[in-house]
Point group: C2
Chain length 481, copies 2
Amino acid sequence: MAHSPLTEIMNARSIAFYGASNNVSKMGSSQLVTMISNGYPGAIYPIHPSEETVFGLRAYRSVGEIGTPVDLAVIVLPARLVPGVIDELGAAGVRRAVIVTAGFAEVGGADLQDAVNEAAHRAGLRYVGPNCIGVANLHARLNFTVFPFAGEPGSIGMLSHSGTFVTHLMPYLHARRLNYAEAISLGNEGDLDIVDGLQYYASRDQVRVITCYIEAIRRGREFMATAADVSRVKPIVALYAGGTDAGARATASHTAAMAAPEGIIDGLFRQTGIVRASTIEEVFDFACVLSRCAVPRGNRVGILTNSGGPGVLMADAVSRLGLSLPSFSPALQKEIGAFAPGTASLANPVDFTFINDWEAFFSRVPRLIAESGEVDVLLFYGFFGIETFLHYRDHPAVAPSLNPALMEAALRLGTDLQHTIAASLRNLPVPIICSTFLGLDESLIGHLVESGVPFLPTPERAARAAGALCRYGQWRRTHPE
Amino acid sequence: MAHSPLTEIMNARSIAFYGASNNVSKMGSSQLVTMISNGYPGAIYPIHPSEETVFGLRAYRSVGEIGTPVDLAVIVLPARLVPGVIDELGAAGVRRAVIVTAGFAEVGGADLQDAVNEAAHRAGLRYVGPNCIGVANLHARLNFTVFPFAGEPGSIGMLSHSGTFVTHLMPYLHARRLNYAEAISLGNEGDLDIVDGLQYYASRDQVRVITCYIEAIRRGREFMATAADVSRVKPIVALYAGGTDAGARATASHTAAMAAPEGIIDGLFRQTGIVRASTIEEVFDFACVLSRCAVPRGNRVGILTNSGGPGVLMADAVSRLGLSLPSFSPALQKEIGAFAPGTASLANPVDFTFINDWEAFFSRVPRLIAESGEVDVLLFYGFFGIETFLHYRDHPAVAPSLNPALMEAALRLGTDLQHTIAASLRNLPVPIICSTFLGLDESLIGHLVESGVPFLPTPERAARAAGALCRYGQWRRTHPE
């Protein structure tokens, strides 16, 4: 694909910052503070009419005063000042900007937006915004949104018509170890838009799945062509907002967007390989599996569980999604049966009813099913950790009667056995999607999630994510690269 | 309502325990360990053929040997031994049991189930199970499921055809401070069933909402009559599983249940006031608001947010649920406008765009809207904590330039201001449902959740919970107590 103008924005090595002072209660200041806090390694030049320094950085009266080339300008100034600043940037040879400033088309200021575009055209400048919250490339420690981010960068590329779904989601995703690689708050899309974003992320190896929060599609034809191209190489998950009348009323005042009726969107997404999500939570459930799993070769789902209820709920969900839940062959049932308790069901769902041998349940049996050739995706419920055993070990009435060999075996789930399990689950020949009601504070869960095994918080959400994975697999089989 | 036979089970003051030894890897043993660990204050009498003590408790050869009356027997023995044990219980005057043992109707053992029922009839004994995981009354520190529970008891009463949704959910719910008051794993319902469970919970003040995971309804007529009676005094939320062919196949081997087609269930629930949930997660989202909110007087929803995207998603969800999102009167908009930034939208959704005054946004404006008479339920998105400010305060480049008065104001969100906000949000004249992507580790969120303010993890889940609340409100208005 062609070189994207977003490349210089998302990988800027030097930034002129308009609109930050030493008053951190101002938006521009808090954005600069984020950039400093997150350890941006490039040069930052605050532009301020009077301050000598801003948060310890030397401030300049104008971008021309800096004296060296600058890759990017970030603008958080009142709207009426923006066209003049762009003229100044043009004169200084700055060719990229992010305009955070609100007060343009979303509040009826179309004239001012035109003035910005005329100035940008004169200056040969391309920009993101206005009315956005900024951008982040967490791998490059470039983040000038309003919130600092403390965790490891991930592999999700976000394109959002809402700044909230860049900033507020960072701690939410981090709590699941499912972080952004890069995120772009698109705002009103006065210049660079979601089509540019798709093209840019398609070229980025660190982005394994593209997520979109969409309030409006401004260039319909280009969007469809680009999405279809990009879907051939990496998955796009999108949530379309404002499809109802009440939602449309809300988007109009948000990003000046004219929303399309819901029915149109479904067809448009289906034709272009975009995996549609129905909630913001689902966007990231789907992104979790699409970024961590191989593309499946078919729609046959296997279910492995240690308890009946979750097995039933997954079977119901798989069935509603139109996926197949084949009964396992007698040969495979026999192989599984060799490891299972006598009370187990073996046909699919495979329900162990209880776990008699941890290594068998967590490692050997999923491998047996995955290698059988009888399923394309495996749903796996039933994880737990060692916390219950620690509880037993530490209880004064219980501890004296405990069998030391049994305790030692149990505690292996927190040491070598969890490495065995992670290695086994990460290298299966079909995608596996795990679910558990437990958190990352359980040692086994934490270890597996950190190892890249996809986990979702409930069995039904895992099943729906399997549906998304299969939908994308179907697209890829009929639309080769 | 009539006295429930479950009363003596759920509030037993003495328990004979069959099937626990000192080997904690056996199910019965781990269940006894749970009971000990959770500090059960009553008397426990392990019944064992040879051990002198079990986990430090004196063991007995038979229940007759104990010499004092026993309220309840817990049975975790092989299935074929159960009828004989019940005869023994009858002779000793024990009139209640929980039969954990599996291997009855769910694996084709209908004859053995008949033998149990004949023995129970002879003994005048009522029981829960078989093929269940036990019961818990967390307020009474009575819990002999397989997992110990460490948190505070809550106000949810659970009736489940899956033991997993009793045990595995305890840590899941606790992580949201949304705990069970009491939980009953119904198993095969050889005797006491979900109808008895509804009647029992209806009489329990500590149960504010009843949740059900249902695989089959065995006494249809009684279920409908009882559910309709109970729904007049407290809400019932239910998930019906096994509605699809694949799900039905899975339930048959799970609890010997014959599932009903999905369409029938919808009508049945609607006629009886049961709030239907579509996933296990939704059961507890709905239980959260139904246990913490007053019954609303209508379907008019107000939305307050500090950011556009979540506002749009809530507006879309409210609209899809058939609720109304009225535009606010000019008078109310003017009142809200006095506290809002100039960039705010005021019509409904009210979108502050940013928070200029925390006390106004978190306390005064929700109260204005709630007291306006223009809404019946308020959805409130936009919470944050003080962690970002602590991050600023602790950063060497940022700290020296910080305004101390501003920092002091910000840190009030972690001290007195959070008490002001909690007091205000807890006593509004209409129900409020909050949402945030942040966790309970954020001080403000943690404090509000602990104070009983209902919080859900995403704006759409909050909106769907508002839908559940309004549905129940509608039932109550047309079906007075």
